[in-house]
Symmetry: C2
Amino acid sequence: MTEFQTISRKEQIIVTAAQLFKQKGYEASSMRDIALVLNMEAASLYHHIKSKEEILELICFTMAQKFLAAIAEVNDIYFNAEEKLRKAILHHVEIITEDINKSAVFLREWRSLPENSLKDFMFLRNHYESEFTHIIENGMQEDIFENVDKKFAVLSILSSVNWINEWYQADGKMNAAEIAKKISDFVMGGLRKKMVTDPHYRP
Amino acid sequence: MTEFQTISRKEQIIVTAAQLFKQKGYEASSMRDIALVLNMEAASLYHHIKSKEEILELICFTMAQKFLAAIAEVNDIYFNAEEKLRKAILHHVEIITEDINKSAVFLREWRSLPENSLKDFMFLRNHYESEFTHIIENGMQEDIFENVDKKFAVLSILSSVNWINEWYQADGKMNAAEIAKKISDFVMGGLRKKMVTDPHYRP
DNA sequence: AAATTTGCCTAACAATCGTTAGGTAAAATG
DNA sequence: CATTTTACCTAACGATTGTTAGGCAAATTT
């Protein structure tokens, strides 16, 4: 019964930290703040974690891996470009809504990572972005996407899906799938080639 | 020659602070950091400004006023909805690219505002957002925009234009007008009604 | 039952934080 | 020339920061 069904103390610390980091920011959250929520002393935290920076690293890189695993899965399985993009957006929204605290830290607080980690983190982030770019390229090759500026398309899409972190509340009426569909529809409207020469086309 | 053609010491402090706040975040930037760049002592800063928080407030509210003035101008002058939206996006991009440091603070660091200012700031922000929503509503009434979810459309548009703050460099090849056009085109593609019943229509 | 590990505690550290007080030399003003 | 104002300085303050050291009781392992 040591760690079955129950959450480890280390994970409790990370979860609490993520909540505070989202609320007040990494720099403004102290180890004593974290400890207070957990009814313990700041010094006791160091029995489970190495440093404050380690907490930030754990959150940022765990989230980065989730995002990368999701996009890799999408690109592995065969879909056409629109399916790929819709699935990629869906998984992205799912990961964000599953844990808004950790995703807020991933999206906003990564700047506070120590120099070495920061380099690695930005590499992973760029890799994720380039996977999205490939989907857009595919779509243009398949001639189902407009010949748009790839860079702008990817940045617009990613900024839209990331922005949900600013307003999403878990108790809200929409679930991840509904949010993803609305964003995808909006984005697709801008990307999907309008077949105006086909009289039977319906938008 | 007291303040003609030259920049006041107070403004120098604010400009320096904005640069540091963007680079390392408000909480991680110390008064001593700011003073170091200006070749002075931290205590001397207080001859020109009241507190560290005042610097943040000055930056955030100055930027907020710029954004609000721009959108008010757009909505005052008569344009159709597409023109309005394109102008609004253009002005937004112009303000951001004119001073990426202060806009970064406006976009990211406002969370560190003291409670009272924070309330006012969020009110202004919501007001700006609602002005955009009105444009979308106009476009739907004029029947030139798809019947999209307003909330999502506005959030997607604003997140896209705000995201340029993350990658824009003043020495880059694109100017504000070019960036605004690309974003507008991408957004419009998703908003503009496709007149498929008209055989002469060209996208 | 003895030995070890786990999980917390108190106390304290050096460093850094924003800010205030009081002084001083140069510049502006009368 | 005398006076006031401006723009800085040094020194120091109380508070807070992340972190370490050492101890102690309960739980676990041997």
